[in-house]
C-alpha cells in the first residue's frame, strides 16, 4: 500500500510517478535483502523446511502490493515477499514465520511463505496451487453483499498454476459474478523444472482471458515502471467495476525453485535446467538492477542514497532476525491442540 510508505507526506499532496516508483523500488529492495537473508539462514541450517525466493519477480510483486489499499484483499504466493511488504506486512512477521516464532501470525503452526492475517485482508496461502483465488472471490462477494464497494482483491500465481482446475473454476467464477478480482500471473518460464511448453500451448497466457470473458493486459515483468502502470490500471479498472482483470507478466525466476534447488538457479548453478538463452534474453534481466538504472537515469535518486537505503534495510533485517531469535519458540505443552474454535465440540484424544 502506497499510503503506508508515504504517511510522512503532507495530506492532500498528490503522488507523482516518482513517489510511487521510489516507494515501490524500496519495497523491492527490502524484499531482495530479506530473501537473501532467508537464503543465508537456510544455508546455515537455521530454517526448518523450504525457503522460496522472489528474486527477479520483485518489480511485479511490489507493483501489486503498492497498487492495493489497506482495505483491499491480497492473496500472495511463494514469490511475493515484495508484494507482501508493500501491502503492509512487517519484516518482523515475515521473519517470525520463517523462524517459527510463537509471536508470529502463524505461531509456528505454519511457516515460510504460508503466512498472512485473514482479518486484515491478507490471506495466507495454502500450498495447493490455485486454491486461494476462489477464497479471494468469496471475500469480494461478501463485501458486495454487505454493501461495501470499491474493494479490490488481488492474487498472484505462476505459469504452472494455470494448469490447475482450481485456477479455472475460480477465474470463471469471478467472471460470472463480475468480481473486482485482479489475477496476476507471473510467467517466469518454469514451474519448478518444467518449462511452459509442457504446461500450456497458447501463445501467451493472456490468451486465456478470452475464454473467461475477462480483460487482460501483458507486461514486461522486469520493468518496474511498466509493472506499476499495468497493474495499477488493472486494479483501477477492477475498482471501477469493470470486472476481473488478468495481468500477465513475462520474466525469469532468478533463483532455484526453492533454496534446496541449486540446479534451478540460473545465476549460480554450473549446469542449470534453465535455458541459458533465457538468461541472456530481455526476460533474464534483474528487475532490481533495471529499476535502479531507471531511477538513476531519471535522476530520481542517486547511487549514494541507494546504498544508504540498502544498508538501512540490512540493519533493520538483522535486528528483526536478532529479535525473533530471542522470542520463544512454540511450546507443545502450552499449545492448544484444537483444530476447531468451538472448544466444546472438539475431540480430545487422550493418549
Amino acid at each position: 500500500m502506497l499510503q503506508t510508505v508515504l504517511d510522512a507526506k503532507p495530506a492532500g499532496e498528490t503522488l507523482t510517478a516518482r513517489d510511487t516508483t521510489l516507494a515501490a523500488y524500496r519495497f523491492m529492495l527490502r524484499a531482495r535483502v530479506l530473501d537473501d537473508k532467508f537464503a543465508a539462514l537456510y544455508r546455515a541450517g537455521k530454517i526448518h523446511g523450504g525457503v522460496f525466493l522472489g528474486r527477479g519477480q520483485e518489480a511485479l510483486s511490489a507493483a501489486v502490493g503498492i497498487s492495493l489499499k489497506k482495505t483491499d484483499v491480497f492473496a500472495p504466493l511463494i514469490r511475493d515477499a515484495a508484494g507482501r511488504l508493500a501491502f503492509g506486512e512487517t519484516i518482523l512477521d515475515a521473519v517470525r514465520t520463517y523462524l517459527g516464532s510463537s509471536q508470529g501470525p502463524m505461531r509456528g503452526r505454519d511457516g515460510n511463505v504460508h503466512r498472512g492475517k485473514p482479518l486484515e485482508g491478507y490471506f495466507p496461502m495454502i500450498s495447493h496451487l490455485g486454491a486461494m483465488i476462489s477464497v479471494v472471490n468469496g471475500a469480494l462477494f461478501a463485501r458486495r453483499m454487505k454493501g461495501i464497494s470499491g474493494t479490490v482483491g488481488a492474487t498472484c500465481l505462476g505459469d504452472g498454476a494455470t494448469s490447475t482446475g482450481a485456477f479455472h473454476e475460480a477465474l470463471n467464477q469471478a467472471a460470472v459474478e463480475k468480481l473486482p478480482l485482479v489475477m496476476v500471473l507471473a510467467d517466469n518460464q518454469y514451474a519448478y523444472s518444467t518449462p511452459t511448453s509442457r504446461q500450456f500451448v497458447c501463445d501467451d497466457l493472456a490468451d486465456k482471458a478470452i475464454g473467461y470473458g475477462v480483460e487482460s493486459s501483458s507486461v514486461d515483468g522486469t520493468d518496474l515502471a511498466a509493472c506499476l502502470k499495468t497493474v495499477g490500471n488493472a486494479v483501477a479498472k477492477a475498482r471501477a467495476g469493470e470486472g476481473p482483470q488478468l495481468v500477465v507478466a513475462k520474466l525469469l525466476r532468478l533463483c532455484g525453485h526453492g533454496e534446496h534447488d541449486a540446479d534451478g538457479d540460473i545465476l549460480s548453478a554450473k549446469q542449470s535446467y534453465i535455458d541459458p538463452k533465457l538468461k541472456n534474453s530481455p526476460l533474464g534481466r534483474d528487475c532490481l538492477k533495471v529499476a535502479e538504472e531507471f531511477l538513476l537515469r531519471e535522476k530520481w535518486t542517486d547511487a549514494a542514497t541507494l546504498a544508504t537505503w540498502r544498508s538501512e534495510i540490512v540493519i533493520e533485517i538483522e535486528e528483526a532476525v536478532a529479535q525473533v531469535r530471542r522470542e520463544p519458540a512454540p511450546d507443545p505443552y502450552d499449545e492448544k491442540w484444537l483444530a476447531i474454535s468451538s472448544a466444546h465440540l472438539s475431540e480430545m484424544h487422550e493418549e
Binding site: 482479518l119 463485501r143 453483499m145
Partner: protein
C-alpha cells in the same frame, strides 16, 4: 400439518436466512429452481440476492464460502449430491478445515451433502462419505436421523463458528415425517437414546437408525430388548453416551451405511474397546455396507447396505453368545 425431513431442511434454511443477515446459500440450481431436491424451494424469491446459482465448480464453490466466512458471512453450500463434493474436497479439508488452527480465524461455513443410498442411485449418487471428512481435523460432521434433528442441527450448524459437513440422507427426504418442527433440541455432540433396552446396544446414525429401530421391533417380538443409540454427530462422537449404554447392555453392534474400512463403525468400536473394554461381555461387532461401489439395481443395493433384517440377524448372533 406434517413436515418431511426435506421440508425441515428447507425450513431451517429459511429460518437462518430470516434471522441472520450473514447467511446466504450458494449451489447449483439452488436459486429460482429451488435445488435438485427442492431443499431451497422459494428461498431465492423470499430472500432476493441471497440464494445463488453457482457454476458447476465445487472447488470454487467451497473456496468462495471460505472467503466469505473470513469476511464474517455464514455461507451454506449445497452440493447437488454428496458424491460431487469430492471435487471440492481440497477446499473443504485443506482450506476450510485448516483456517482456524493456522490463523485463529474461525471458518463458519456449512456444506450440505445430500448423501446415502436410494433405489437406483448407483455408484455416484449414493455414497456415504462422512468418514473421510471426519478423518480430517477441523471439521464438524453431522448426520441427523430425524426430521427434528434435520431442522435443529442445521440451524446449529449455521450458528457455530466452524466448518460443518451436514450429511442429510436422501432416503429420508420424503418419507420421514414429523408433526411439527422442534422448539428445543439436544446440542450437537450429544448422542440420543432412540430406544431403550438392556440386552444389546445398537449404535447407528442417519438412515441406519431407522433400520436399527425396525430390527429392534422385530427382536422385541422375540423377547429381546435392544437399545438403539443415534449418534447424531459423528464428529464429535459422543463416546460417553455409547459407553454408558454398553455399560447397561454389555453388548455392542455398530451399524453404518458406509464402507467398512475406517468408517464410523470402526471408530466407535475402537473407542469402546479402548475406553470401555471391561463393560463388554462379548466381542463388539459391526455391520457396514459391502466393500464395493454402491450398486444400481435394487436387488444388489438391498444386499449392499445394511437393512433391518441384516441388523436383526447380526444382533441375534451377538445375543446368542
Amino acid at each position: 400439518m406434517s413436515i418431511t425431513y426435506l421440508e425441515a431442511i428447507r425450513e431451517a434454511q429459511a429460518h437462518a436466512l430470516r434471522d441472520d443477515p450473514r447467511v446466504f446459500i450458494y449451489g447449483q440450481d439452488v436459486g429460482a429452481f429451488g435445488g435438485a431436491f427442492k431443499a431451497t424451494k422459494n428461498l431465492a424469491k423470499e430472500y432476493p440476492g441471497r440464494v445463488l446459482d453457482s457454476p458447476i465448480s465445487e472447488d470454487a464453490m467451497v473456496g468462495m464460502a471460505v472467503g466469505a466466512a473470513i469476511e464474517g458471512m455464514r455461507p451454506i453450500i449445497e452440493m447437488q449430491f454428496a458424491d460431487f463434493s469430492i471435487v471440492g474436497f481440497n477446499q473443504i479439508v485443506n482450506q476450510a478445515a485448516t483456517l482456524f488452527w493456522r490463523t485463529n480465524v474461525p471458518c463458519p461455513i456449512t456444506v450440505r451433502l445430500p448423501f446415502g443410498g436410494t433405489e437406483g442411485g448407483g455408484p455416484f449418487h449414493s455414497q456415504s462419505i462422512e468418514a473421510i471428512y471426519a478423518h480430517y481435523p477441523g471439521l464438524v460432521v453431522l448426520t441427523p436421523a430425524t426430521v427434528e434433528d434435520a431442522y435443529s442441527m442445521l440451524l446449529e450448524a449455521v450458528a457455530i463458528d466452524d466448518p460443518v459437513i451436514f450429511c442429510e440422507h436422501k432416503f429420508l427426504y420424503y418419507h420421514l415425517k414429523a408433526e411439527k418442527l422442534p422448539s428445543e433440541a439436544l446440542p450437537i455432540g450429544k448422542a440420543r437414546i432412540a430406544r431403550e433396552g438392556r440386552d444389546l446396544t445398537v449404535v447407528a446414525y442417519s438412515a441406519m437408525v431407522h433400520e436399527a429401530l425396525e430390527a429392534a421391533m422385530e427382536l422385541a417380538a422375540e423377547g429381546w430388548e435392544i437399545e438403539v443409540v443415534d449418534l447424531r454427530s459423528v464428529k464429535p462422537l459422543d463416546t460417553d453416551t455409547v459407553i454408558a449404554s454398553v455399560a447397561r447392555t454389555g453388548r455392542l453392534l455398530c451399524v453404518g451405511e458406509a464402507w467398512p474400512w475406517g468408517g464410523v463403525t470402526a471408530e466407535v468400536i475402537a473407542r469402546v474397546a479402548s475406553e470401555g473394554f471391561g463393560l463388554l461381555d462379548v466381542p463388539p461387532q459391526r455391520l457396514n455396507a459391502k466393500d464395493t461401489p454402491v450398486p444400481y439395481h435394487p436387488n444388489l443395493w438391498m444386499a449392499h447396505r445394511p437393512t433391518a433384517r441384516a441388523v436383526a440377524a447380526a444382533a441375534r448372533k451377538i445375543l446368542r453368545r
